[in-house]
Structures are given as structure tokens and as C-alpha cells.
């Protein structure tokens, strides 16, 4: 849940507004001699969810790591919550990262810590009283419907449960921006739908901005066509063929460049041959 408005740090073209959660400006990145991102520019508005697609190796996960400041681009600028990540030192980034949450592709849970310690890691780092940590961990585990795993270790959990614990860990401090790296990758359809429902719940209940990297088009389309009903505690579909503005947009990468940016209906009705072929797969 957004708690404060960040001061704008960006200068230059002054393209960053207070309404933007993340802004990429002409970002270029190479690993050794391979060009991974070539002039990537986009903006994620506050409260918006942007699903990033593309075949393997197009730099989708790299965009998330760049936004988090875990790696630096060769050129270009990245702003997160008004702060220029590309100009910040690692020490300064730690402060900013406390306002962000990230769910890694393979969950990246700390295997020597149990679920409670994993989920409450941030709170323990802030030296909050144990009773408060315990209560907040319980609440967030209830949110992902895993309160019974409290004392279990990551190795004792299934793949889907690990992802949900990772989501719980990312959202426990109610960050302003969430970065999801293939949260449904390698999971069965039923578990995937459970995870997507959690993302929809997070989007609609807490209005969190999010970047969602995924290989599964259907996940993003579910997000674009469903809304969360707090009364029934389930997500519900919108009328067929109607893409109401659910603040969920799409971004398609190809050969290190963005080839499409828009909403679900624009994507579906795109006349671009590559996009048509991509959607048909």
C-alpha cells in the first residue's frame, strides 16, 4: 500500500512524474558480447500492472533485476519511485529496496531458515518485537493460505507452496512496487491459477504497482480479465470480450527491443505478424 510520495530525483528530460512507479529511459545492457537490452524505454504508472512477455533470453528477468538495482545497465537511466536507481550507490539502494518487493523465478527462499523466518526476514532485520513479527507473518501467510507451514523448511514445501511463501515474503511490508519473475513457471494449471489469484488480490486490494514477467500468456490475460471480489475472497471474470481498465498492460520483447506496449485488447487485435504468431502458440 503506498505510504508516501517520493521526491523526484531525476533531472535531464524531466520525464519522470510523481505518477510513475518505474521509468526506463533508453536502457542498454550487454553481457560480454551479447546485447540483452537495446534502448528499452517504458513507464509503469502507480497502481498499474505491466506483464512482460518474450521468448527465453530476451531479457525479461534482467529488466526486473535492473529495476531492483541488482545489476547496472551499460547506459540509460532507470527511475524507481522517483529515485534514479542507475545513479545510486549500493548502500543507498538498500533503503529504496525496502519499498519494493521481488518474487524470484525459483523463489530464492533461504534454505537454512524456516517459513516464519523467511517471511519475517525483513521485519527481523528491522528488529521489531517478536510478537509483532509473529502476528504479521501469520497474517501474510493467511493471505497466501499457508498458515499451516509456519515452522516448515523450504525443502519440505512443494514448488507452488514455495512460490506462495516467496510472495508472502515480498508483500509482508506492503511494498509500493512488486516485481514478479515467472511466479507460475513450471507449476501445474491449478497451482498457477491460485498464484494468479493472489496477484489479482494484491493488485485490487492493495493497489500495488507491479511488473510481471511470465511465459504464460493466459496468466496475464486472466489478470486483465478478472477482478478480485473481497466479499467472496475469490477473483471473478469480467463479461466475455470486455477488457475493463484493470490497470493491467502488456509489454512484448523481441531481439532485445520492445515491439509492443498496450492493453489486452490492443494486443489481441494487433496486426503485427510476429505478435499474431506469438499469441497463437
Amino acid at each position: 500500500m503506498p505510504s508516501s510520495t517520493q521526491p523526484l530525483v531525476g533531472t535531464g528530460a524531466s520525464l519522470v512524474s510523481g505518477q510513475d512507479a518505474i521509468v526506463f529511459e533508453d536502457v542498454v545492457l550487454s553481457f560480454e558480447k551479447n546485447l540483452v537490452l537495446d534502448g528499452i524505454s517504458f513507464r509503469l504508472a502507480r497502481g498499474e500492472t505491466k506483464a512482460i512477455f518474450g521468448i527465453s533470453g530476451t531479457g525479461k528477468s534482467t529488466i526486473l533485476k535492473l529495476a531492483m538495482g541488482l545489476i547496472k545497465p551499460d547506459s540509460g537511466r532507470i527511475f524507481v519511485l522517483g529515485s534514479e536507481v542507475t545513479a545510486m550507490k549500493e548502500e543507498e539502494l538498500f533503503e529504496l529496496r525496502r519499498k519494493l518487493g521481488m518474487v524470484f523465478q525459483e523463489s530464492a527462499l533461504f534454505d537454512s531458515l524456516n517459513v516464519e523466518e523467511n517471511v519475517g526476514f525483513r521485519l527481523m532485520e528491522e528488529h521489531l518485537p517478536y510478537a509483532e513479527i509473529h502476528q504479521r507473518v501469520l497474517e501474510v501467510l493467511r493471505f497466501v493460505e499457508l498458515e499451516h507451514t509456519f515452522k516448515m523448511f523450504p525443502s519440505e514445501l512443494s514448488g507452488g507452496m514455495r512460490r506462495r511463501v516467496a510472495i508472502a515474503r515480498a508483500i509482508i511490508t506492503q511494498p509500493e512496487v512488486l516485481l514478479y519473475d515467472s511466479p507460475t513457471g513450471g507449476l501445474d494449471p491449478v497451482t498457477s491459477t491460485t498464484i494468479v489469484e493472489l496477484l489479482v488480490k494484491q493488485r485490487d486490494v492493495y493497489k500495488t504497482s507491479a511488473l510481471l514477467v511470465t511465459h504464460r500468456l493466459q496468466d496475464a490475460f486472466i489478470m486483465a480479465t478478472h477482478t478480485f471480489n473481497s466479499q467472496t475472497n475469490h477473483m471473478e471474470p469480467l463479461p466475455e470480450g470486455k477488457y475493463r481498465n484493470l490497470h493491467t498492460n502488456f509489454l512484448l520483447l523481441r531481439d532485445a527491443k520492445i515491439i509492443f506496449e498496450g492493453n489486452a485488447s490492443e494486443l489481441v487485435y494487433s496486426q503485427d505478424e510476429y505478435i499474431k504468431e506469438y499469441l497463437s502458440q
Binding site: 533485476k65 549500493e90 538498500f94 529496496r97 519494493l100 524470484f104 530464492a108 534454505d111 526476514f121 532485520e125
Partner: protein, 261 residues
Amino acid sequence: MELTFSPTEFAKSKVLAVQEYSLLAWQSISNLVRHPRYVADMLQQADIIGFGFLPIVLAACFFTGAALALNSAASLSRFGAINVIGQLVSVGIVRELGPVLAGLVVAGRNSSGMASELGSMVVTEQIDAMRALGTDPTKKLVTPRVISTIIMLFFLTILGDLMGLLGGGVVASALLGLDYNAYWSSAWQTLVYSDVFMGLTKPLVFGFIIATIGCYFGLSAKGGTQGVGRATTEAVVAAMILIIVVDVFVTRLLMLLLSSY
């Protein structure tokens, strides 16, 4: 298959590695004056290193002291000077063998343990996750390991020295027929301030090398489980070689400082 070895690239990569190691080593110490400090993690590591390594270090030093006494006896008896065996064992153990042996034993297990633990965390993105959660891995993981290793190796060396002298004493009295009290008296009285200072300075340096090398290779691991295995092996080899090489320079430096040639 095309060979693409470039001496320039090789040299650059080595210089970069030294630079990154130096930076990590500096951070591991400078983190002590920055918040937060992870005292609980430090104590946990001290427990693993201190009590975990105690039996091995004690055994290694005991038998080395015994072997040193046996070997020395063969030479000393030719000159009729077997009574000074206590002096020889005590100076040899306290100045040189105690710190180096304890260092090598701890390096063998600790450097590899740190490299494999941190390496596994790197390849499973746990280090990135820690950074993403707003925690500095050098503060949380590296500094506690470095400080704990330095402190525990210091105390392990003291106990190792004692066991080395005990091993020499057992050989001197049981196999060489010397008076046990005379051995201890000679071993004790021959030690001077510079010997003890040198013997207790070295573990501080060796502990720093062991932990920083282990953490550096762990955090630099690339390429999945195979990369972790490679990092582990490289860490042990690098730590052991560095201990042996640095020992020579530290010995010479301390000799100059203490004016003991």
C-alpha cells in the same frame, strides 16, 4: 573448436579478481563501524569454527609436537644436547607450527565450507534475494564469518600450542627417557615475549585470509552446482597457499619489528 585465449583478457580478469577481493576484504572489516552489526550471526559462526574445529586442531598439534620431538631427538643426541629438546619444541610450535597448522586445518574445512555455502546461495539467487530485501550480504554473511574466524583461530592456536608442547613432552618422557618436569621447565623458560607475540599475531592474519578467501570464492561462484564445486576447491587451495606464503612475510616483518633475527 576455436581457441580464444587472450593474454590481455586473462590478465584483466586476474587484476579484476584481485580488485574485487581487496574490496570485499576491506568491506568485511569496515562494516564493523557501520550498522547493523550481526552479533548473533557472529556467535553462531564462532561456535561452528571454535568447537567444530577444536578436536582436529588439538589432534594435529599434539601429533606434530610429538613428531617434532622425535625428529629433533635424532639430531640433538648426536651433539649430546638432547636435554634442550623442550626449548626446540616450544619455539618451533609456538612461533611457527602451531599457528600454521591450526591455520591450515581451519582453512581446509572453513574456506571450503564458506565457499560452498555462499556459492550455493549465489546460484540459487538467495544472495540477490537478500539484497532485494534490503540487507547487505557483506554485513550479514561476510563480516560475521571473518571476525569469528579471526577470534576463534587465535584461541585455537593457543590450545594447539599447548597440545603441541604436550605431544613433545609425552615423547620426551615416554620414549626418550627425559624428565617430564625438566622438559616443561626448559620449554617454558625458553619462550620470550617476541616468540609469543609472533605466534599469536599470525593466527589473526591467517584467520582473515581463510574467511575472506572462502567468502570471496563463494560469492564469485558461477555456473550452477559445478561452479560451486569449483569455487570450493579453489578457495581451499588459495587459502592454504596464501597462508604458507604470507607466513614467510609475516615472520620476516615481525622479526624486523621485534628486532629478533
